[in-house]
Amino acid sequence: MAEMVSMKSMRTPRDCFAKLAIYCAALLVCAAFAWILSDIARGGMAHLSLDFVIGSPRDAGRAGGIGSILVSTALVLAIALMAALPLGWTTAALLAEYVSAGSRFGGAVRYSLQVLAAVPSIVFGLFGNAFFSIYLGLGFSILSGGLTLACMLLPILVSTAESGLRAIPDAHRLSAAALGMSRTSTLFRLLLPIAAPSLAAGLLLGIGRAIAETAALLFTSGYVDRTPGSLLDSGRTLAVHIFDLSMNVPGGDAAAYASALVLIAALLLINMVAMRLATDWQRRKIMAENSNGYSNIDAPRA
């Protein structure tokens, strides 16, 4: 907003003090975070190597690497997204496109999603343990962990997708209707592609939450640190690994630092890649579905 409203500062003592305080606060925050990040970077760099990333953990994680743990993490994440994405996005489409503001059903769905967003992750862990692991008999497995995470991701995916769809001006819906397009194809061919960036943003947020999650996974996916052989095997995710190394393994700090560094780097990387994918995807959707080869009729004109 500084660029929006340029305010000439009148130099009163109170003004100066406020400015000082705000700069100090910002500096303090920067310093604290520089401290954390540099600590982790410094601690992790020494232990980090290619062998560490692809190797299997040995000696409770003190030696070896985190290869099997990355596999488990990816599997848990994949399960969570596969379960939550279709459910979340279709729910968002319903809330944004088909349900009027006063609808009872819409209100109930929206309210329950708010509740879901409020549930602390440890409670998801309790629920996942009671429902997926024991009631459904999935045991401590990638599947229970992934499904528990899916429940957790649902409100994020829905709210970002819904707000993305709501941000599309009604003019587009009216034009589409005036062109005789059905609501279904308006939704799938027009509105969802336009909302792609917010869908992607929600996806990113979801991935970030899922990768960072520990409490919900402790009692659902367990912490066996080997490469899972199937989705019904227990698998330890990276965040759980960091927890275990730092709490339960004397001499595990170096590996924990390195794992934390990998985790943060992975979060950043996923962010960048997904952003790139989203823009590409949108560009492709903006262009025709069968645009390649249009030039052959273009040529004689040119």
């Binding site: 587009h172 009216l174 062109l179």
Partner: protein, 295 residues
């Protein structure tokens, strides 16, 4: 050209090979070969006792008028008198507004559009609509037209391409955009966007075009070009246009309908030939409005 109702259409591929019938500034619309002349009016849309309400509020009361085939009918009147509501009723776009209810009948070619058996999407395909603000989808120029075509069953690429070229030529946009069909439609200027919207409506080969103040959001030059285009479409399509620009209504319309707010609801005051409405209005409200606007 292929658009006239007579059964002698030309293949568009051939049309592309032929040197286009050159009108003055790049338009390729040919002369009207057939269709009813405006002096021999045949009603296409018949509106009988039509009322529209939003919730409890009546927006439009007891409108009865005929809209004639191939002619341009201008709807004039002050803001809030139900012109746009009337326009949206013709393609049942008002269905999308919650709490919207109607009484009376609107018939196209004698068939009631509110007939429960009526396929609304097929109806809307027959009736193109252009809005006040240009509303191209935030997709590419090509995709803007392809999307509705695909929806209505035109799936072969060659056909799509031919139609797109045809309609872009019809609205005089082809020369301007043929080398950047795959860039975003939002990169076009306002006037170009509005012509793209008209082209998009034309691509579905409608019989009726509804235009809701199509020029009011444009600058005078773009407005002139679009107005020019609209008058070229006369005869080929039945056009209903809402406009606040009385001079424009006079210039392009064959018929004019004057709406006014009476007792909180819009209603039709007078309908007649454009010249009659403007030069010898029967109703004093019409006279006051037309003269007031003039003077």
């Amino acid at each position: 050209m292929h658009r006239e109702p007579e059964p002698t259409p030309t293949e568009p591929a051939k049309a592309a090979d032929d040197p286009p019938l050159k009108a003055d500034n790049g338009y390729t619309l040919g002369p009207v070969q057939a269709g009813p002349a405006c002096c021999d009016p045949q009603p296409l849309i018949q509106v009988e006792n039509f009322s529209l309400r939003y919730g409890l509020k009546t927006a439009l009361a007891n409108v009865t008028l005929d809209i004639y085939r191939g002619c341009i009918t201008a709807l004039i009147g002050p803001s809030g008198c139900g012109k746009t509501s009337f326009l949206s009723s013709i393609n049942r776009l008002t269905d999308l507004i919650p709490g919207c209810g109607i009484t009376g009948r609107i018939c196209i070619d004698g068939g009631d559009i509110h007939d429960p058996a009526r396929d609304v999407q097929a109806l809307r395909r027959q009736i193109g609509m252009v809005f006040q603000k240009p509303t191209p989808f935030p997709l590419s120029i090509y995709r803007n037209i392809e999307l509705p075509l695909h929806e209505h069953g035109v799936k072969r690429r060659a056909d799509t391409v031919a139609i797109i070229e045809q309609v872009l030529r019809d609205v005089g946009l082809w020369e301007e955009v043929h080398d950047r069909l795959h860039s975003s439609a939002l990169s076009l200027s306002g006037g170009q966007q509005q012509r793209l919207c008209i082209a998009r409506a034309l691509a579905l080969n409608p019989r009726i075009l509804l235009m809701d103040e199509p020029c009011s959001a444009l600058d005078p030059i773009a407005s002139g070009i679009v107005e020019d285009l609209i008058s070229r479409l006369r005869g080929r399509y039945t056009i209903v246009i809402v406009t606040h620009n009385l001079a424009q209504a006079r210039r392009i319309a064959n018929y004019a309908a004057f709406f006014w707010v009476r007792g909180h609801a819009g209603s039709l005051v007078e309908f007649g030939h454009c010249r009659q409405i403007f030069e010898s209005p029967a109703h004093e409200l019409t006279a006051a409005y037309v003269n007031g606007a003039r003077g």
